[in-house]
Amino acid sequence: MIYFVVKRLFLIVIVIAGMSVFTFGLTRVIPGDPARLLAGPEARLEQVEQLREQYGLNKPIVEQYFGYMAGLFRGDFGQSLTTRRPVAEDFAQFVPATVELTLAALILIVLIGLPLGFLSARRPNGIVDQASRLLTIAGMSMPVFWLGVLFQIVFFKWLRVLPAGGRLGIIESAPPHVTGFYTIDALMAGNMDLLLSALQHLVLPSFTLALASLATITRVSRATVIGVLRTDYVRTARARGLSERQVMTRHVFKNAMIPTVTVLGMQIGILLGGNLIVEVVFSWPGIGLYAVNAIKNLDFAPIMGVMLISALAYVMVNLIVDLVYLALNPRITYAGDK
């Protein structure tokens, strides 16, 4: 098992190295002179040259790459042209918002998707199954941005029950910073009004983000449970005299969880991409919105930083998912144990 983890970490390092080469390569692919872009359109020639010196842009490309990598290890992601701050600082400000949104979506997916899948599987082609199948098809066919816009039209314009964007109302200010999650911070400060407002603002974006993945998880858990219900060991459990409910809780649940967990991991990657869109639609100040704004200004350091961080998070999450899978399933032995 240790062997497996080490081997995976080694592979991850290789992949991350590849990723960094890739993102670095992207920055050098863009047409135009990086030093000039950095300096801005009004800069004079000496300023451009000075910047070129300062950022080592006149060195050979391989040296530049290693300089970039060294910077990354120090936590230096470069400078943002738009905010005129180190990208790392921008991250510190915007990452918590994104994490709060992603976690909220994840909670929704697990709390709604799994039970829905289970209930659908218990009575295939029943009411719950047909309804969730409809939801699934709709959810998977909606592009995230359109869904967000639709939600805004329905819940903000027509029904007037939920806000259209932002993390808090315009006149409200953030609670004292503990975690960066407005919901938790408001709770810890005992400010119930603020907590309510933060939750209200969180509802639409997290639902929008969750819907597509919700559909997939419901499908997968339904299929898995149906498969498990057909197995011989479930038949044995029934033959032993267990009631259907006992069969479900003791035998079906754990067995069906295992493949479902892996799919959950994959969904996180989708969430990390959908984040971007949702933040734009709902003006949610996370790193997605940050990256998109940077795109408009051709500001590359933030874009690359966001790509790397997200990819790293994705890779790590998948590793954790695999480890959880290993822990739950005593049967799997990796790398030639059999």
Binding site: M19, S141, P143, I277, I295, I303
Partner: protein, 296 residues
């Protein structure tokens, strides 16, 4: 080839092939597939026929008619530049579908080639290609497309290239699995002993077997390609105005959400229906090929 002598026989073989296809793909077995096919055909028809059925020129600006609600003249109203929303939505289907086809074609081309070469060759070629694929797979899909599109510059063409770079590893994996399977069967060795070259083996033996799972994957990818492309356009990296791409239209129309809701609704509903059509079709094909999935 002389004209009339060959024409009837050619027509007959096409009909033969179609009916052969119909027996291999009993479309009646799946209601999902039937609905999906019907919707897809409608979408395809619209895409092809849009120049004929669209009432107005999609990029013609008419300042006098700005922001008009749906009426007899403009069935779906006009946008902020007076352009007819219906026409723009119809033309959008052309762009989306054409682009999706190109994206998937590119991804399949790169991916399947890489996959079967990797699977068949083994060794360091396999390792290297798969590591490269892993690097691409390590990025959340949309972020990868975004990064590449940003680096190449905002345009529809670049968005297409960027999106196909996101999908190729999936095809590579599927193709590689099939190639590995074939490699371990006897007839590759048999072909080698008769002196067949590697390329010949790849094309005549490996490729046909890999065909089936790839086809299923393609039908599911088309819908996803449309979404990704529209998403890229939404954040400004894909089709640039005045091109009537659905994502761009929704992005532009957002500012007028409160009062002129039709500007975003039309392309939104269109994209939803199109994607649903492809998804249903893909689902249906899967149901037909592996019927045990849906049963109780």
């Amino acid at each position: 080839m002389s004209g009339s002598a060959t024409a009837p026989s050619r027509r007959r073989t096409i009909a033969d092939r179609l009916s052969g296809l119909a027996t291999r793909f009993p479309i009646n077995k799946s209601r999902t597939a039937r609905i999906g096919l019907a919707l897809t055909l409608i979408v395809l028809f619209v895409a092809v026929a849009s120049p004929l059925i669209a009432p107005y020129d999609p990029i013609a600006v008419d300042s006098a008619q700005r922001l008009q609600p749906p009426s007899a003249e403009h069935w779906l109203g006009t946008d902020q530049q007076g352009r007819d929303v219906l026409s723009r939505t119809l033309y959008g289907s052309r762009i989306s579908i054409l682009s999706a086809v190109v994206i998937v074609a590119l991804a399949v081309l790169i991916g399947v080639t890489a996959g079967i070469v990797a699977g068949y060759s083994g060794g360091w070629i396999d390792e290297t290609l798969m590591r490269i694929a892993d690097v691409f797979l390590a990025f959340p899909p949309l972020l990868l497309a975004m990064g590449v599109a940003a680096a190449l510059g905002p345009s529809l063409t670049n968005a297409i290239i960027a999106t196909s770079l996101v999908w190729w590893p999936w095809y590579a994996r599927v193709a590689r699995a099939e190639a590995l399977y074939i490699k371990h069967e006897g007839f590759v060795d048999a072909a080698r002993t008769v002196g067949a070259s590697h390329l010949r083996i790849l094309v005549t033996h490996v490729l046909p077997v890999a065909r089936t799972p790839i086809i299923v994957q393609i039908s599911l990818s088309l819908g996803a390609a449309i979404v990704t492309l529209a998403s890229l356009s939404f954040i400004g990296l894909g089709a640039q105005p005045p091109v009537p791409e659905w994502g761009t239209m929704i992005a532009d129309g957002r500012a007028y959400l409160l009062n002129q809701w039709w500007i975003v609704t039309a392309p939104g509903v269109a994209i939803f229906l199109t994607i649903m059509a492809f998804n249903l079709l893909g689902d249906g094909i899967q149901e037909i090929l592996s019927p045990h999935e849906r049963n109780s």
